[in-house]
Symmetry: C2
Subunit: 393 residues, 2 copies
Amino acid sequence: MTAPLPAAPERGFAEAELVQRTQRAQALMREAGFDLLLLTTEPEVRYFSGFLTPFWQSPTRPWFLLVPRAGKPVAVIPEIGGACMARTWLDDIRTWPAPRPDDDGVSLLTEAIRELAGDAATVGLPMGHESHLRMPLADFQRLRERLPGLDVADATPLVRRLRMVKSDAEVAKIAHVATLVSDAFDQAPRLFRVGMPLVEAFRAFKTACLGLGVDDVPYLVGGAGPGGYDDIISPPGERPLADGDVLMLDTGCTFDGYFCDFDRNFAIGDTSDAARRAYDTLYRATEAGLAAVRPGAACREVHRAMRAVLEADGGATGNVGRFGHGLGMQLTEWPSHAAFDTTVIEPGMVLTLEPAMAYGDGRMMVHEENLVVRDDGPELLTRRAPRALPRIG
Amino acid sequence: MTAPLPAAPERGFAEAELVQRTQRAQALMREAGFDLLLLTTEPEVRYFSGFLTPFWQSPTRPWFLLVPRAGKPVAVIPEIGGACMARTWLDDIRTWPAPRPDDDGVSLLTEAIRELAGDAATVGLPMGHESHLRMPLADFQRLRERLPGLDVADATPLVRRLRMVKSDAEVAKIAHVATLVSDAFDQAPRLFRVGMPLVEAFRAFKTACLGLGVDDVPYLVGGAGPGGYDDIISPPGERPLADGDVLMLDTGCTFDGYFCDFDRNFAIGDTSDAARRAYDTLYRATEAGLAAVRPGAACREVHRAMRAVLEADGGATGNVGRFGHGLGMQLTEWPSHAAFDTTVIEPGMVLTLEPAMAYGDGRMMVHEENLVVRDDGPELLTRRAPRALPRIG
């Protein structure tokens, strides 16, 4: 790899941005009647602190961040994270020598909650859709027993509202990684060839992404098969790519902890008319989605616009359950382009458009782009997929 | 990359192994008085079904696996996973069109629990140390409300007991990836050089690991600094490697969903005597750990053996909280080499030895090997680190 890497946005965030996130949260906490936010998952802790580490891969230790009604968040974390957290804008960092199974932060957390909000506080905790509690359930029950006067309320709407609209700095990171991966997909004719086992095609693509400057390739799925693939979430097997295959790769690569999430389809040599027609339908469905994305529109309208194209072409809509979603610190985030989602689109949202369809004899196809919503509509962050199914070999 | 990749073990598991895991769980369920196991996290679902997908990266959809007292596990999963799950040995796969926030599998799960175990069953759910519940907490509360007669008990000891002892097929996967990463570390003199920003050193290492045949590099942390590093969980920065640095990389790479987890230290040119002494202490502490690992010994004895070397050398023991742990489907698993852990070591356990120490002016050093326990003691899966701090440049 001798070509210079594209200029990357600065890593991290200005303190002013972290302050602003916290103050916006505190304004919403007042509206919701929360005395405190209790956060346990990686993106939430990072959102308010700036704390970025792959160490969350280890499930051993819980991490806690408390956002009080005023002032800076307070970290209650394992000792091993103390030095890294001390480099953030936080001042109040409380650590314990984790792992310590008989009291893995519970006493320290109890004390911190009591000190910051009292014994009878209302604590906002994300408990709703697309959330989970990242601590042992038994420890959470212990916390409730220690603080029986605590009222625990769902903070998902609050966190969702904040995180769905990205700052310019966040958008820049996503845009950067989407550009790098667009470049990697442009290398497809050099990366993939007939006879190559799918697992090696994946390896070549991951290596190309790293070579172009992404930090990591946490997510790569795909499929290949004659005239199409039938599954989009399996890891790659040893079957070699063959003439007539449709190959799809769908990747979430990261830069500075922010994801892109999009896929590309390729015909290996000559493939079926059905596959080319499916591609054309999905391309036009995506165009319809792009036309529907604007501030003030609801996500379900975007879904309806894409679905109308699929239905007009007689396509079944596959099993993905939605036609796109938000993205950012996570591969998938709220909202969903789905019939159930009435979220109103706002400038600064970063969204995927991801129509999927079933066709032929158990085949399916997906097509995906990433965009940021601007005042006047969508701005693509991915380099738009070719108009017709591109051919390799 | 033109050299042939080392022969890899077969992917996946024989059905007989999945049957045996399930039957062993069912025997332990009878002992514990559980009518059903409810599993929500990736390693647990995979352990019993063989279901492997990176799709868990997306936090949007919950997945459930139920292990009844007899017969095959039952999957209650999003439609998008149906095709992939149908390739496993399971027969009973129930899907819903997720995401569906107002009923994201809760009704289907309620019905399945009722059908398999009745309204007043005792359900084992991992709730203890190193576990979490991977579904929205509000949905879990809804489930409890729908099935008020359910007794939910902690299944952590059961899952832990099963997963801690690895099968030959599991060990082969870990051994393979540990060998590949040992090969990658052997390339260090070609990969790293003075003037290279740490982030580029990480990129070069990840690319080397992929080139040698690992599937993914989900975890890479490390540090570099004059005479040592002070933090082992931060992502790499732009600071160039300099003469006199100690460089450390600690990686969890995967093959077929199984991790290795070890690190290596390098001196960039001349570094401090203190760093060389710390390395020597940690090398000898690891030797003491290797001597202490044998079937019948407790993890805390292994910890004590390593600690004794550090203390004899006057080293502070750092902030990692333990001197190693189990590994397998996760980067870190039970048990812990720590004073609190009385787990008795058994043949088939795959463990790290990971003594850490603080030295000098806020510096720390870690040293890590991976091993499998055999009848007569430990068998290293990693190529043992050099006896003295290796020098680059």
